[in-house]
């Protein structure tokens, strides 16, 4: 497969000049007590000047390790155990530390993954940018400061001159990522390695930043090695794709070709699972009015989801199970001294949820969507407005009645690592709500745990294991099982799949859909990801700055978005310019 892929790359018309970066049979391993554990096993790739190449794969596929091996910044005990990394014909693996220092920054720029942790919190922004310029040029004093401001302005921070003395914690995630992009490009390197540069950001911010990055690299003629887990994003941003799986390249070639006609089963699964692509496919299918099943790429694990989404009837008629009327939540923020500022986190929000349906609340961070979830779960008190559950006002519930309400409305949270107690084994974790609500005897609870594990498709033996031994997807299944333990009517899913890899995300979404049909559950689905919404939701409320700006059925929102904001969100789903199912 790899050889075949290389041939394709070498036949590219742009190969009139010598390649900028060539990786031959690269092998990287991590030294552990049990010997060398290979992480990258024989990777080959070729990048020509001015080209953009994306490495795609899920976490653990070795894509980041490959990138870090190029600039010799492997984490911990990692080391290159074989192969060559030729940069302009020079083998980087043989360079000394001092020679490598001259390559980093000046020849190869690096934009890291998480903007929150990649700037030193104790130095101001100006210092950290100036430091990078200083290390790679002779600029000092006034000229250095001038260049620092220029670099930041080029990266999209218009008021850079006034913000040099500010610290990273005073910048938003998107602004920090701009700073990091500025640093990476400050010395006009020939190659820029961008490792998931926007995964931690809101979709609209992501789009702006990637557009900006594309413009900059095109203007400077910089080649880009783009690392991402999102196939749709990769296809949109790069001409060449390299798909990695378990340390190996399973497929490589021009993006359009791979997406339209994936050869390797793993790539096929990735293409099928990527929500950004799946939601596009649903759209494509609906618009073409062609119910041909070939429209789904082969091996699509999301076939069921897509079928359900395309065939979705308007939500069942009848009375609302949950009805929210004009709810408002105001937070008081202390500014200085005794003064307070008032923040309207949720501003006059109304919507209704019918039994057995899924309502998605979509918005960027800070839009108030999570606050709505907390208000419905009775974890925060209302400032004004009314929330009804089965026609009863839930605002004043106390004691026994509140407990009963909690039994019927259960939450599942975003972080599968933080929401499970590491000291509790899985069985105890799932049984805990039963115990808290004094349901059944010990034996009955035990039986229920096994039943729940089966419902979320985990083996019975899982009950004796601890969260640290489980993957993110397994943990999220356990969180769902725990939420289902009390046989609730409503699940409030707050970014429940956002932290998961695409393939796992697809599985969990499938599971949720099955459970909904089986148990007649009602979902309130809080997310920032419109692509996921397309797959699971019946109705959508789009929130911006505490208000619902648009509320309609999913089909309506995707077919005729009325608000500019909704259109922006939709446009920000990657893979938009792509043709499927030729």
């Amino acid at each position: 497969m790899t050889q075949l892929a290389n041939q394709t790359v070498n036949q590219m018309p742009s190969s009139d000049s010598a390649p900028l970066l060539e990786i031959h049979d690269l092998e990287v391993g991590f030294r552990t007590q049990r010997g060398l554990v290979p992480a990258v096993r024989g990777v080959n790739l070729t990048l020509y000047p001015g080209q953009t190449l994306a490495i795609v794969g899920e976490s653990g596929s070795g894509k980041t390790t490959t990138a870090q091996a190029i600039i010799k910044l492997l984490a911990g005990t990692g080391q290159v155990t074989g192969g060559q990394i030729l940069f302009e014909g020079r083998d980087l693996t043989t360079l000394t530390a001092a020679e490598m220092q001259a390559v980093r920054g000046r020849e190869i720029g690096y934009v890291p993954q998480d903007p929150m942790s990649n700037l030193n919190p104790v130095w101001n922004i100006g210092f950290q940018v100036a430091e990078a310029i200083r290390a790679n040029s002779d600029l000092r004093g006034k000229a250095l400061k001038q260049r620092t401001i220029e670099v930041l302005q080029e990266a999209g921070l218009a008021d850079a001159a006034d913000r040099l003395k500010q610290y990273p914690h005073q910048f938003s995630g998107g602004m920090r990522q701009r700073v990091l992009i500025g640093i990476g490009l400050s010395a006009r390197p020939k190659l820029l390695i961008a490792d998931e540069p926007t995964s931690a950001l809101d979709v609209t911010v992501q789009r702006q930043i990637l557009d900006h990055l594309a413009t900059l690299t095109r203007d400077y003629g910089t080649s880009v090695l783009f690392i991402t887990h999102d196939l749709g994003l990769a296809a949109e941003r790069a001409e060449q794709l390299v798909v990695m799986y378990k340390g190996k390249v399973v497929e490589s070639g021009p993006s359009q070709e791979i997406l339209a006609n994936p050869q390797h089963p793993y790539t096929q699964r990735l293409v099928a699972a990527a929500p950004s692509l799946a939601s596009r496919r649903i759209q494509a299918k609906k618009n073409q009015d062609a119910p041909a099943p070939e429209i789904f790429s082969a091996g699509g694990t999301d076939t069921a989801l897509i079928t359900r989404a395309t065939e979705r009837e308007l939500a069942a008629s009848g009375k609302d199970l949950i009805s929210v009327e004009g709810i408002t939540k105001m937070y008081r923020i202390r500014t200085s001294g005794l003064k307070h500022d008032e923040l309207l986190a949720v501003n006059d929000v109304s919507f209704g949820v019918k039994k057995g349906t899924t309502t998605a609340i979509v918005g960027e961070s800070g839009s108030g969507k999570s606050t709505v979830a907390k208000l419905i779960l009775q974890l925060e008190s209302l400032t004004s407005g009314r929330i009804e559950f089965e026609g009863r006002d839930v605002a004043g519930l106390k004691g026994r009645e509140l407990l009963n309400f909690r039994r019927r409305v259960q939450p599942v949270f975003q972080d599968p690592y933080g929401s499970l107690d590491p000291q509790y084994n899985v069985g105890n974790t799932i049984a805990e709500p039963l115990l808290a609500h004094r349901v059944g005897t010990k034996k009955e609870r035990q039986k229920r745990v096994l039943e729940l594990l089966e419902q979320v498709s985990l083996p019975a033996a899982t009950q004796f294991r601890y969260p640290s031994e489980l993957s993110g997807g397994q943990r999220q299944r356990i969180a769902i099982a725990r939420a289902l333990a009390l046989k609730p009517d409503v699940l409030v899913l707050d970014e429940a799949v956002s932290a998961l890899d695409v393939l796992v995300q697809g599985q969990i979404l499938n599971l949720l859909t099955e459970l909904q049909t089986e148990l007649n559950l009602t979902y309130l689905f809080i997310t920032h990801d419109l692509a996921v919404v397309r797959l699971v939701a019946d109705n959508v409320c789009v929130m911006q700055k505490g208000r619902i700006v648009e509320a309609a059925s999913t089909d309506d929102v995707f077919d005729n978005p009325r608000e500019v904001y909704t259109q922006d969100l939709l446009a920000a789903i990657p893979g938009g310019d792509f043709e499927f199912g030729r």
Partner: protein
């Protein structure tokens, strides 16, 4: 920041009164008659005792004694010891010596502790790191007086590099050996604290990014690893200023230094209320000021910490 500092200084007032009151009460409640202890075998005549009692206000109820003491305190009169020396005199001779000893010890433990900790953190798992860990464990587990006597014997008696005891004026060079002894335990803690902090920060994302910028290794270590690692160490050092000022009793005893520790110890045994309370009051102020200094340094080292006004 100014507002915050002012607020913290104001907080010292209740701390000061609370501490002096408690200490005065404790000394007052100590068993035994201080006058009798003063004269030992040959008790003086009842008239003399009564006269001394009146002179030191010992015939008044506790609360009156305390208020009289505080009243005098604010007029600059700290009272006299039972041997007739004024307490301010005793303080003026004891505090500079202890302060010199404590500052020297602080300088030693900060400099060597951070240096050794940094190298150990950078070479985690290597020989230097392993030896540093063993030595620091040894220093923590062996009592100070053992370390004191051993160093006194080796350097003072056998090698003759230092004086075994410190002369009355306690010049700086004679205090080097006692300061090393005094610093030993804290040195060990600082080594371990710095080492852990450095090895944590070495793996931080921003350190990798700094290297990717093309910075040299020394610059990455000093600018991006060391400063971030110093935050917990500074906290420890600040708290340590207080204990070094107070906790030098053992070391002062070994090297026969007339510092604060020995003086307070003697005063407690004699039940000299004014002496004990005056010393403690000054120590309380030092403690509070040292803690304030730490909090301010903390904010200077880590810009994310901004104290609410």
């Amino acid at each position: 920041m100014l507002w915050y500092t002012g607020k913290r200084l104001l907080q010292m007032i209740p701390v000061f009164f609370g501490a002096t009151f408690l200490i005065y009460f404790m000394v007052f409640s100590l068993p035994g008659d201080p006058i009798a202890a003063l004269y030992g075998e040959r008790p003086p005549s009842p008239a003399v005792i009564a006269q001394i009692r009146a002179e030191y206000n010992l015939d008044q109820p506790f609360i009156v004694q305390y208020l009289l003491y505080i009243g005098n305190f604010f007029q600059g009169d700290l009272g006299t010891t039972y041997s007739g020396r004024s307490v301010s005199d005793v303080m003026a001779s004891a505090f500079p010596i202890t302060a010199r000893l404590a500052m020297l010890a602080l300088a030693f433990e900060a400099f060597f502790g951070i240096l050794v900790g940094l190298i150990a953190g950078l070479r985690k798992g290597k020989l230097f790191d392993a030896s540093a860990l063993v030595v620091s464990l040894l220093l923590i587990s062996v009592p100070t007086f053992v370390i004191g006597f051993v160093l006194q014997f080796v350097f003072g008696v056998q090698l003759g590099w230092a004086r075994t005891t410190v002369s009355g004026a306690a010049p700086l060079d004679e205090l080097i050996l006692p300061a090393l002894v005094l610093a030993s335990v804290s040195f060990a803690y600082i080594v371990r604290l710095t080492r852990a902090s450095v090895s944590d920060n070495l793996n931080a994302d921003f350190v990798r990014t700094a290297t990717a910028k093309g910075l040299s290794r020394p610059r990455v270590v000093t600018v991006h690893v060391l400063r971030n690692s110093l935050v917990p160490v500074i906290t420890f050092l600040g708290v340590d200023i207080g204990s070094l000022m107070v906790g030098a009793i053992v070391t002062e005893g070994i090297f026969n230094i007339n510092g604060v520790g020995g003086t307070v110890f003697k005063a407690i045994r004699l039940g000299e209320g004014p002496t004990v309370v005056s010393f403690i009051a000054v120590m309380v102020v030092i403690f509070v000021l040292a803690n304030l200094l730490v909090d301010l340094l903390y904010a200077a080292l880590d810009p994310r910490i901004r104290y609410a006004k």
